[in-house]
Every structure is written in structure tokens, then in C-alpha cells.
């Protein structure tokens, strides 16, 4: 078994187009998903049931229905509400809403990770709720927010592959096209996977840089006092003393 790389190089154009579309879809969905997530999280945190309950329902709906099913619900369902969108637009909308449910839970957790006293003090000195959120809470929640949001963003890039089922010409769809022409599934899907791998790695690296700029995460290492137990409890190579 040898890898026939000419299959990849001959169709590099299609792969590139697909990769560009995947980046476009992902970026659009990540940004709009984040924007939707903030109001959803704030509603979810509201002490009033009438406000928090719809937010809980929204989050649970999107998190418990597989994205492939959700996507086809949007595809067949939006016309019922008089909305006839391109498959690409439908896909971005569905992916953004899907992502917003996960982002909302992260925002909620991040806001809760900031001690209550911070909000109470800010309100006590006369800041409005929104101003206190923006100037006191948001800057402090980033430490918690960024690593989790990175993971969800990466999930969205991966989940965007499902848009191929609507014939949206993104990376997976182009992979299927090339596979249909060349009958070399192993090479084609390995190449497709590698491009996704590169995209998600880039995304992770980008977020890591922004995390470092914000002061960085404390590294958790296995205490040298417990070197014996580390034989079982640590998967990292033993630290040199």
C-alpha cells in the first residue's frame, strides 16, 4: 500500500476552495455564536424563572439534538417560517445557534467563576449592571473563558463538516467530490483530515497566544513529593529533579 500523492496535488485547487469555505463558515459561526451566547447566558443567570427558563430550554435543545439532525431541521423547517435561505446560509445559521448554546454555558460558568463580591461592589459604587459586567466582570472571567471557548470553537470547525450533507461546498464536500472522481478514498480523506487538523491546530495556537497575553494559566504539575504515586497517576514523563 503506497500513498498516491498525485491525487492530492492534482486536486489541490478543490481542497483549497473547500478549506477557504470551511474557514469562512467556521469564523462566521464562531463570531455570531459568541454574540448570541452573551444574552443567552445573562438570561440564564437571571433569578426570574420567566427569563431563565427559555434560556435553559434553548441551551438544552441545542446540546441534546445531534447537529446533523438539527441542520436538517433548519433546512426543512425554515421555509415553514417563510425563510428560504441558501444551504450555505442555513448551515452557518444552524452552526452559529448550535455553538451559541455551548458558548452560553461557558459564559455562564465564567461569570460565576468571578467572586460575587466583585459585582456587588461595582453596583455599590453606583455602576450600572451592564457597565459592571463590561468593566469588572468580563476582564476577570477571560482566564476561565478562553480555554473553554477555544475547545468549543474547535468543535465548531469540526462540526462544520456536517454541512456537506446539505451539499455546501466546504472541505468535506470537496473531499467527497474528489473521492468520487479518483476512487482513492484513503488518500482523499487522509488529506481532508490533515487540512482540518491544521486548521484546528492554528485556531488552538491563536487562542493560546491570546491566553498568554492575558497573563497565562498556572501550570499544574504533579508535586515532586508524590513521585511514587506519579508512577500510576501521571502520564507525563517524570520531571528531572
Amino acid at each position: 500500500m503506497t500513498l498516491d500523492l498525485s491525487i492530492i496535488t492534482d486536486n489541490a485547487g478543490l481542497f483549497a476552495q473547500g478549506a477557504v469555505a470551511t474557514v469562512y463558515i467556521s469564523v462566521a459561526a464562531i463570531i455570531s455564536g459568541l454574540l448570541i451566547a452573551f444574552p443567552v447566558a445573562l438570561l440564564r443567570l437571571s433569578p426570574r424563572r420567566v427569563m431563565s427558563w427559555p434560556a435553559v430550554a434553548y441551551v438544552e435543545l441545542f446540546r441534546n439534538i445531534p447537529f446533523i439532525v438539527m441542520l436538517s431541521l433548519f433546512f426543512y423547517g425554515l421555509p415553514f417560517f417563510g425563510l428560504r435561505l441558501q444551504p450555505m446560509t442555513t448551515g452557518i445559521v444552524a452552526l452559529a445557534l448550535f455553538g451559541s448554546a455551548y458558548f452560553a454555558e461557558i459564559v455562564r460558568g465564567a461569570i460565576l467563576s468571578v467572586p460575587r463580591g466583585q459585582m456587588e461592589s461595582a453596583r455599590a459604587i453606583g455602576m450600572s449592571y451592564l457597565r459592571a459586567l463590561r468593566e469588572i466582570i468580563f476582564p476577570q472571567m477571560l482566564r476561565f473563558f478562553i480555554p473553554a471557548a477555544t475547545n468549543t470553537s474547535i468543535s465548531l470547525v469540526k462540526e462544520s463538516a456536517v454541512l456537506a450533507t446539505l451539499s455546501v461546498a466546504e472541505l468535506t464536500y470537496q473531499g467527497l467530490i474528489v473521492q468520487g472522481q479518483t476512487f482513492a478514498p484513503f488518500e482523499v480523506f487522509l488529506a481532508t483530515a490533515t487540512i482540518y487538523w491544521g486548521l484546528t491546530a492554528l485556531l488552538a495556537a491563536g487562542f493560546r497566544t491570546s491566553e498568554r497575553r492575558l497573563g497565562g494559566q498556572a501550570q499544574r504539575g504533579f508535586s515532586s513529593r508524590h513521585r511514587l504515586a506519579a508512577r500510576y497517576l501521571s502520564l507525563e514523563p517524570e520531571p528531572r529533579s
Binding site: 436538517s72 426543512y76 468535506t172 480523506f189 487522509l190 502520564l235
Partner: protein, 219 residues
């Protein structure tokens, strides 16, 4: 076109039958992934540098690529390596392999958070590695990582719908087939979504119950 509640209800029996396939696939994949995750974790704990390097690359690959592509690789790609699997087997293998990696990562995190005391005591008592893993580390680890494991189970269950793309007749593909004859895709999909929603909520609730039951033992 008006929304037809009857169409959604009429599709339910056939969809429920197809859901059995999703449950069976998810159960098989979860069992395989749990066993695989434990084995991979023990393998990684041996800290054989070149092996861990390879495992690290595989982990990064699986975490960085869509499950859909992994399913394609198992079903369409493996025959190139001389391994022809039927859609169901290929699908279960793909999901189980993906989940093995994620479970091993969950276990890595769980191990780092564990109290080293009991392990040190077991080593001091001269227990063999087998006994330490089997009777000390794994039981406590499983209790500790129960919440993320339940979450992983719901991810697996949702992932089973992806097998529709390699022609496994499960809930989503059944919904597509029904839509093709009734021309009521929205109603049918809505019924399918409701079924899997209920199923997932049940799994989460069951997980929550299990957690409360075991909370005492977790200390």
C-alpha cells in the same frame, strides 16, 4: 404548506424502531471505548517515550479532525489497507476509536486530580501493579470521572446519527427514508429530533442519579 401533526405522529413507530439501532451502536461503542480508554491510559502511564510520542500524535489527530471524516476513513479508507468492514462495524469502530481517545484524555485529567495517598499506601504494602490498577486506581478513577463519562455517552449517542452517511439505517436515515415517501421531511425530522432529545435527557438524568448514589463513596 401547513404543518401536519399527523405526519409527525405517523412516523413515530418506525422512528422508534430505528432508534434501537442507535442505542445498540452507542452501547457497543461506549463499552469498547471504556475498555480502550482504560488500556490506553495504562499504556501511557508506562511512559515509554517513543510509544507516548506516537500516542500523542494519534490523540492530536483524533481531537483535531471531524468524526465524520474519521467515519469515512474507517469505512472507505480501511479497504485500501486490506480491511473491508461493513457499514455498521466500521461505524462502531470509528465512534469507539474516537471516544477511546477522548476517554483516555478524561482519565488523564482525573488521575492528576486523584489523592495520591491510597496509591502510595498500596505501593508501600507491596501490591503488584495489576492489583494497584485494578483495585485501587481504576475504581476510584471511574467514580471521579463519572460526570464527564456520562457526557461522553451523550456525545456517542449523538454521534450515532452520523452513521447515516455510510448507509447505516438508524434514526436519522430512517427519518430521511420516511421523508422521501411522505414528502413531510420537517415533521419527520422533528419527530426524530424529539426522540433523540428525550433519549439524551434520560441518559443525562440517569448519570445524575448514578452520581448522587455514588457521591457518598466518592467522599
Amino acid at each position: 404548506m401547513d404543518f401536519s401533526v399527523e405526519a409527525a405522529l405517523a412516523a413515530l413507530p418506525a422512528l422508534l424502531r430505528a432508534t434501537g439501532t442507535n442505542i445498540a451502536i452507542a452501547a457497543a461503542a461506549m463499552a469498547l471505548a471504556l475498555a480502550g480508554g482504560i488500556l490506553l491510559t495504562i499504556l501511557r502511564s508506562l511512559k515509554i517515550a517513543p510509544l507516548n510520542l506516537v500516542i500523542g500524535v494519534v490523540i492530536s489527530f483524533i481531537r483535531g479532525t471531524p468524526v465524520l471524516i474519521q467515519i469515512f476513513l474507517f469505512y472507505y479508507g480501511l479497504p485500501a489497507l486490506g480491511l473491508q468492514l461493513d457499514p455498521l462495524t466500521a461505524g462502531i469502530c470509528a465512534i469507539a476509536f474516537n471516544s477511546t481517545i477522548f476517554i483516555s484524555e478524561i482519565m488523564r485529567g482525573g488521575l492528576a486530580d486523584m489523592d495520591p495517598g491510597p496509591v502510595e499506601a498500596a505501593i508501600a504494602l507491596g501490591l503488584k501493579a495489576r492489583a494497584i490498577w485494578g483495585k485501587v486506581v481504576i475504581p476510584q478513577l471511574l467514580l471521579r470521572i463519572l460526570p464527564p463519562l456520562v457526557n461522553e455517552a451523550t456525545i456517542i449517542l449523538k454521534g450515532t446519527a452520523l452513521l447515516s452517511v455510510i448507509t447505516v439505517v438508524e434514526l436519522f436515515r430512517a427519518a430521511q427514508q420516511i421523508s422521501a415517501t411522505t414528502f413531510r421531511p420537517f415533521e419527520t425530522m422533528l419527530a426524530a429530533a424529539a426522540i433523540i432529545l428525550v433519549l439524551n435527557v434520560l441518559v443525562s438524568q440517569f448519570g445524575g442519579m448514578l452520581e448522587r448514589r455514588l457521591a457518598v463513596r466518592r467522599g
